[in-house]
Amino acid sequence: MHHDPPTFDEVYAAHYAGLTVQLYAYFGDRQEAQDIAQEAFCRALSRWSTVCRYDDPAAWVRRTAWNLAVSRWRRARTALNFLRKQRADEPQLDGPSGEWVALVAALAELPPAQRRAMVLHYLGDLTIAEIAEREGVAQGTVKSWLHRARGTLAGLLGADAEGVTHV
């Protein structure tokens, strides 16, 4: 049942996974992505009476999550994630496909701005204009980021994405 304005539970249910998958692609770390998405929703909840009246409350959560993702908060929180993401009971969870792992590994090779642009464009469905506004740069810059990133990814994903690197 849809409420107007929407309830916190409705927005959470509709957008948590979609937002987390973007952050997952950006960090390459599911647990860290989940933590940041959850923190963004917690911040929204603490001021929900205001946020719920925005035209698009989910956009506020998304913006907050991405701000957290590139902020000092994220770096400070990583201490917890490092250990937790390898907890012994984790292997029992269903993992993502190998193709996703390869894609995330290839994205990790990109500079952060290019990686953000790719994730926001392909997974967040943001337009070039919206990405430019979020990043505070010209649209041409975003186009350039996407162009370079596509070139890099084409090279990486066209190469051997299977197997194990031997050291």
Partner: protein
């Protein structure tokens, strides 16, 4: 490639979404509730302290006439304390110097390894420096925990004092706080440094500290197991998935001090082979080719250390050959 990329993103997105475990809206409510409670308690404590402080100040009799002395310069005292602290052969994780003020606090992220807190105080009196771990917001434990406490005597020619401690995995943030100053407080300068037995200080955001990164895997081929592990405990025992087969390589990386032991077992419990991964900072990948097994296999991972209850973090990948 652009269209191909769109396809790849669209095709892989569902599998990534399936791997996501939302903590839930109720968990968010719980977190917000805890934070509000904490904030209210802190505010109440400040108000009580202010009221009590005001009452005590009002009750205090007028001080007797004293021989006037020129106050020592806190800046110079702080500088003296820094000099007395000396230099360190390894890079410092945290290094601070300050005029001694009750309640002064500095913060840092969590550092790995065995840590040494070394401090000096120049001036009169003494102080206590506390290391306080702040639990993550989603931890069951919500109250800060004192991880170490160091009494630091102040002197004109200060001598360094030190103590050892570790920052547990539950504390992503740490405060260093002056909790006790001799009364009446006299001018003094404090300097302290924290070093780690990892050599160069390693924090969790440092990929070099992460055993998973140390493996340099480019796919999830095979089967992986990882996590925290403590010496002297049973360890981790589980079945090896059938897709790994009986002929595989073992790739291991372990962060800590000691040895990670990986036993390959038959269903009967008989050991097929054992490999040992040296644990170190930063963790490094080791490759092994254990003897070929047959039938249903299991694995057992234990941690061996000369220190009882020492812990390490590891990642082991079994890759079919």
């Amino acid at each position: 490639m652009s269209d191909q990329l769109e396809e790849i993103f669209a095709r892989t997105r569902p599998s990534a979404i399936r791997a996501i475990r939302p903590p839930g809206a109720e968990a968010a409510r719980r977190t917000v509730r805890i934070r509000r409670t904490r904030r209210a308690v802190s505010l109440a404590a400040i108000v009580v302290l202010a009221v009590v402080g005001g009452v005590i100040a009002g009750m205090r009799p007028p001080p007797p006439p004293e021989k006037r002395e020129l106050p020592a310069d806190p800046v110079k005292l702080t500088q003296t304390a820094k000099v007395a602290l000396g230099t360190s052969s390894t890079p410092a994780a945290v290094e601070k110097a300050t005029e001694v003020k009750p309640g002064w606090v500095a913060s840092s992220t969590r550092y790995f390894g065995g840590l040494t807190l070394r401090a000096t105080c120049a001036g009169d009196g003494s102080l206590t420096l506390a290391v306080i771990g702040n639990p993550g917001s989603e931890m069951l434990q919500t109250e800060p925990v004192e991880l170490a406490r160091l009494d630091v005597p102040c002197a004109e020619k200060p001598e360094p004092v030190e103590t050892a401690f570790e920052i547990g995995q539950n504390f992503p943030d740490v405060d260093y706080k002056i909790v006790d100053v001799g009364t009446p407080a006299k001018p003094a300068g404090l300097a302290f440094r924290i070093t780690s037995d990892t050599g160069e200080p390693l924090t969790a955001q440092d990929e070099r500290a992460n055993p998973t990164f140390a493996l340099h895997l480019t796919s999830d081929k095979g089967f992986g197991s990882g996590g925290g592990i403590t010496a002297g405990r049973r360890g981790l025992v589980d079945d090896l998935p059938s897709h790994v087969g009986g002929w595989f390589r073992v790739l291991g990386a372990c962060a800590g001090r000691g040895t990670l032991r990986v036993d390959i077992l038959k269903a009967s419990g008989k050991v097929v082979d054992t490999v040992r991964v040296p644990c170190q900072w930063p963790p490094k990948r080791y490759d092994f080719e254990p003897a070929r097994g047959s039938g249903d296999l299991r694995y057992r991972i234990t941690f061996e250390s000369s220190k009882p209850f020492a812990s390490a973090d590891f990642m082991v990948q079994f890759v079919p050959r």
